[in-house]
């Protein structure tokens, strides 16, 4: 039966039924959580996050969607260098910890409100790693700052990571050429500041693994010269 037929129907009861059916159908459609529906920041969930087109890189923190900028060459070099050092160390010790780089989803609080994509992370409990995403807090996280994310990485994520049970959090600042290391373990909560020429111990490995940032610095120095010329 079409709408025209309904309208032509002299039986008012039938017309009423049909309209009500149409209404209920359209209402069901409206209430579907579809990307693009009217939601406020703070109300978004994992469904909304997963419905966002792949070409838009975002994170979801406490129901708020944050756009992520495209990484620079310096960002990518540091990321690969760090991940390689960490991976090689774990291999050399036949360790069971795993190193991952962005973009891999982390459902940090095991809830519906937060999905982050840390630049580099180490996860030692393999049960946390699922095919689609990490479920729970990584042991170790590195974020490499870009001017658009520095406040989010330095304060919001620090707070989220400390609360979720991340044991160690490095914030690499390519602009100021320094690394802020937050030891979130053992109730000491030490914060250390290093330069791009320092040797930095990875605390979750008891300082046995040392990242020689000077080597990384030398690797990426050419990119800074390039920046100065332009």
């Amino acid at each position: 039966m079409t709408i025209d037929e309904t309208n032509n129907n002299q039986n008012s009861k039938g017309l009423y039924d049909q309209k009500e059916q149409l209404d209920s159908v359209s209402m069901v459609c409206e209430s579907q959580p579809v990307y693009g529906t009217v939601k406020k920041q703070g109300e978004y969930t994992i469904e909304d996050y997963l419905a966002i087109p792949d070409d838009r890189r975002v994170e979801l923190i406490d129901g708020v969607i944050y756009d992520m900028s495209s990484p620079t060459a310096i960002h990518q070099e540091i990321l690969i260098e760090l991940a390689t050092i960490l991976k090689n160390y774990i291999h050399s010790k036949n360790g069971k910890c795993k190193t991952y780089v962005s973009a891999f989803d982390v459902q940090l609080d095991c809830d519906e409100k937060t999905i982050v994509q840390p630049d580099v992370m180490i996860i030692c409990d393999r049960n946390k790693v699922h095919l689609q995403r990490v479920f729970g807090a990584p042991d170790f996280i590195v974020e490499i700052l870009s001017p658009s994310t520095d406040k989010k990485d330095s304060y919001l994520k620090l707070y989220k990571y400390a609360n979720a049970g991340v044991r160690e959090y490095w914030i690499v600042d390519p602009l100021k050429k320094r690394i802020i290391v937050h030891d979130l373990e053992n109730n000491t909560y030490v914060t250390e500041v290093y330069t791009f020429d320092d040797q930095i111990p990875v605390r979750i490995f008891g300082g046995d693994c040392i990242v020689d940032f000077h080597t990384i610095h030398m690797e990426i120095e050419y990119l800074y010269q390039d920046n100065e010329e332009t």
């Binding site: 469904e47 729970g136 406040k151």
Partner: protein, 262 residues
Amino acid sequence: MTIDEMRELKKELGFSYEQIAKMSNLPVGTVQKVLGGITKAPRYETLKALESVFEIKKTNMIQEAQPAYGVEKKQGEYTIEDYFTLPDERRVELIDGVIYDMASPTAIHQIIADEICGIFKNFVRSKNGICMPLTSPIDVQLDCDNKTIVQPDVVVICDRSKFKYGRIYGAPELVVEVLSPSTLKKDTYLKAQKYLNAGVREYWMVDPKRKRVFVHQFENDDSLINMYTFEDEVPVGIWNGECKVKFREIYEYVEFLYQQEE
């Protein structure tokens, strides 16, 4: 874990069958049949995969307080009414509805806060300025809502209309917290985030134990975070560095107390 327990957790966590399927790498149909009670005897591997989704470690929350005084409320639900009904001798802060007990300050802690405040006051006086530096205890209703009242060690208020209801209503220009072992976590991770969001322009964290000062200049994108030692002169950003705090002098002043502690 029994299937009933998983069903309960599913409800609690608000997971859909599809999400559970994705997280456990099981087909949606299998998840539905098992959790829906249609499959009476699921395979061991299936159960293990499902369990792994629900085995959630308790997150270690930033929390210091005991259940609050006399009131049957959960942390996160307290308001400034509850805060003001607490007995005066119990020093607490209220942050996002959570009550945090505050340790009594040590002499070192108190002297450092007083000295910093004194330097700020002298500077303002010398300039005939209108800003008012204050030391704790002073209640700050940081977000102008009923969920948060903090008591920073030192605050600088430049907008005098923020003095309301016998407390500070809104964000101070500058906040100094002198860290103690029991507040380190709260001051470093929770309050930094709260102050940034509330519109505080500058936040100092003074760590007497490590003899260091972290300065967060929330408005200055070029030097957001700076670290100083107790040997340094620390410039006050909100006064464009015209006022400097000589930490060497403060340290020399309290050094005898460090020796006592040893």
